[in-house]
């Protein structure tokens, strides 16, 4: 009975820790966005709808990050991490297309070649995706090993 109480106390403690960790990480990410956004304001003002698009991206990214942190130490953590990496890549692919960013204002048209930045970002997000897959494989491997150790 005392052991069960201790177990449930540990579970509550563990879940609380995960929630706190997820909240702190979400706040930090939002804080980073909050600090960087004014710096990018000149860019935002050039593109109509860009701010809304970034805000939606940040919201989805933070939700996936929170879910991933809350489900830590389970296989779902890696599902959400992979989903986050795929969402990031999908957002990059959809928003940047061929890497040429064009916008028009009155009779001015601005074209910025973001191919190099795009290549670096896609490479880094691919690395992130590969990392989550490796983590998932590692998790399943550890779990299988633990199960095999328990068997007589």
């Amino acid at each position: 009975m005392a052991e069960q109480q201790k177990k449930s106390k540990n579970l509550v403690k563990d879940v609380s820790f995960r929630v706190v960790k997820a909240t702190v990480k979400a706040i930090l990410v939002y804080l980073l966005y909050f600090l960087v956004a004014p710096m990018l304001a000149p860019l935002f003002s050039l593109v109509p709808g860009f701010m809304e698009s970034i805000e939606a991206f940040i919201a989805v990214y933070i939700v996936l990050m929170i879910l991933s942190d809350i489900t830590a130490k389970t296989v779902f953590q890696y599902f959400f991490s992979t989903a986050r990496a795929l969402f990031f890549m999908g957002y990059l692919l959809l928003s940047m297309g061929d890497g040429m960013f064009s916008t028009s204002y009155e009779n001015f048209s601005l074209t910025v070649n973001l191919t190099l930045f795009y290549t670096i970002a896609v490479t880094l997000s691919l690395l992130g995706f590969a990392r989550t897959i490796l983590q998932a494989i590692n998790f399943m491997h550890e779990k299988a090993e633990a199960n095999s150790n328990l068997q007589p």
Binding site: M39, L40, N113, F117, E142
Partner: protein
Amino acid sequence: MKKPLLIALKEGTAMNVPIRMLGIATSIFWVLLVAFIALAAYSVKDLSFDFGEPEFAVAPDGELTLSLPLYVDNRGYYSLKEFHLSTVFSDAEGAEISRDSTFVPVIPHGESVTIVHNVTLSMVSLLEKGEQYLFNDNDLNVSVTAGLNFAELLPAEISTNFTFPWGAPFYNFVLGEPAYGQFDSAQVAVAVPMSFENHAVFDIAGNIRIELYDSAGSLLSESQTIVYVPQHSAYNGDVEFYVPLSAASLSAAQNGHFNVYFDIGLVEYGPLVIQYG
């Protein structure tokens, strides 16, 4: 008890180290990339471009040069490389009249640079497109493209189109009806009022030669007038002809035509045929 430095890792944790290293490396690169983009975008705020007052000059070979000063104040964190500015002038039909470009290899950060972009318009080639540029105001289409390599990583280009008002140097050129008056016993003085407005961006200095023909197409007389008309001002004057005094010639001179030849240094044009009578 002292732990050995090299302990065999448990099989399960052996993969954690490269995964963690991969995560750390990726995070570092992300931070660097985001910091670079944020600084680059922030630098745009400290970048200013301003155009000065355009200056016009006329070369002896008949070319009109428009000098457009461009002030670039680069207070950002990065140098601007391969700055180029090109302008294309074309007529209403889209035929190219002039194409000029200016290239600056580097605009270092923290410096202000003045770039003078010269556009050359050849009056001769303009007149090849039609005499309307001499006598009628027009709108020339201008296509401007400016590009640079920002922070050595982000090539950017801005382009725009606008119209450039072309002022005709002999706008509303009119020769009035000839007025006859006796000069001496052998010839008659014919005064013809001449007027036009110089809408051009340059002064006109040259001469206008006019030939007076009668209705039969015979040359009765010719006259040459030296004109100096500052830009954006009007000219009003009389051109004098001396026609031999005879009943036949006076009768034939009641109607006919003028052949007008323009020589203003920049361009020679003629004949412009104007009927009278």
